[in-house]
Subunit: 230 residues, 2 copies
DNA sequence: TCTAATATTTAGCCATGCCTAATCTTTATG
DNA sequence: CATAAAGATTAGGCATGGCTAAATATTAGA
């Protein structure tokens, strides 16, 4: 799969196109140029090249669509990017807000073996530090639908933090201050009608999370069913 | 230090030149072209560029010499290369013969912080999986012969911690507990015959290091001669 | 010392990607 | 439907870093 010899520049184009497609948007020249901070004219040139390499289908004035091959490569990049981010946060102690730019470089390192070993070393994580799903070795993206906003969790349910909707510095810093991190398990004890804040139990102690906060937090609710040790 | 914006191509030239200089050879056009598998004509072109960037001194027909700045950057590359190799072997379970090519890519990832965290994560290793010395954060290449076990240091001598012989989690954790880290300077005050432990002076205070501990610590003894403040 | 072999540089090209300005296409709008 | 405005492509350059072939410098041998 993938590997190939696509330059890191071209890889970034593939990623930009994938990112648009995943959001249901058209990969137009201008949308891509926006994402990559390049001029539209440069994008046109690159789209011709990628098309010649069978990585995208491109009809002038109509935007680009990833081919199967192009999509595979783009998804592998996503996988690498998110695994490296996870490595930096989980193993090296980086903050979630510090890892993106470095991962933007690391994702271009070309070695299947490195990535599969890294994946194993990290314990085959399913989500990166920002809560985005990490494609598995087959390129399968974990289903996001199992994640819900904390503000939608019913009373009495237990859940684990899996991601965030905002990645702003101030927000991530606030999470640090409150000791909220990925994987944190909590139970919803009470919901205050007055201001929409949540009272949650974390370990032995109880805390209150503001409405604004819980709206930005993604969690995976513990289902009664998939608890294996019945 | 270093950082800059030197492209990865140029960085590989700097490394090639350093490698020749370290072996006492002249960095001639042909020697460099040999190392990098490029044509001599291409090397000439690059030497002019590097010279224009003050990374080397270059006199046509006379080969290249690294400037202080160029040497710093080349040594930082060596550091990154060897730390990544160590990571792959120690943490990911690669064989020592599989890591060079991947490290050749990883070394170009630009992030001081990534490297200092990786260094700490690995326990400040002094040598890579091939036995080559890893430059420390100051760019000092450990001269193998100058490193001795702390257990071999004579009474009254002053030395600096330069490495460890074991990288086990429990050992590294113990070092953390005692506040022993790379570069720590100490003086041997007393050696207890009874259990082989060492009494050392660190800054203002004195501590006792166990026999087991000092056997696993590598240090560089301060020579009387190169001590400037006579 | 003079010449031949070797090393190095120069000249001229090519590919990759990016940019600006100019020229289409496509889409909105009256 | 006609015509702007917005979006996209082409044309013409530039910088980087390769390559080959030709010219020039250095070095070694007779
Ligand atoms: Mn990237
Ligand atoms: Mn991410
Ligand atoms: Mn390299
Ligand atoms: Mn090595």
């Amino acid at each position: 799969m993938s590997s190939s010899t696509t330059s890191s520049n071209r890889q970034d184009y593939l990623k930009a196109i994938l990112s648009l497609e995943l959001r249901g948007l058209k990969a137009s020249t201008s949308a891509i140029s926006e994402k990559l901070s390049t001029q539209p004219a440069s994008v046109t040139g690159m789209l011709r090249v990628l098309s010649g390499n069978d990585l995208i289908e491109y009809i002038p004035y109509q935007g680009a669509k990833l081919t199967l091959e192009g999509r595979d490569e783009a998804i592998f990049l996503l996988r690498k990017h998110r695994l490296w981010e996870t490595f930096m946060v989980e193993k090296l102690g980086f903050g979630w807000d510090e890892v993106h730019d470095v991962a933007e470089q690391l994702e271009h390192v070309d070695s299947q073996k490195l990535i599969s070993k890294l994946d194993a070393f990290l314990g085959f994580p399913r989500f990166d530090p920002h809560g985005d799903p990490i494609p598995d070795s087959q390129g399968v993206l974990a289903d996001r639908s199992t994640l819900v906003g904390v503000n939608e969790i019913a009373l009495g349910k237990t859940a684990s933090i899996r991601g965030v909707l905002s990645s702003s510095d101030s927000f991530l810093k606030h999470l640090d201050d409150l000791g909220i991190k990925l994987g944190l398990q909590f139970t919803v004890v009470k919901v205050f009608e007055y201001d929409g804040s949540y009272q949650v139990k974390v370990g032995m102690s109880e805390e209150v999370w503001s409405k604004k906060l819980v709206e930005q937090l993604l969690a995976e609710v513990k289902s009664q069913v998939d608890n294996d040790n019945i």
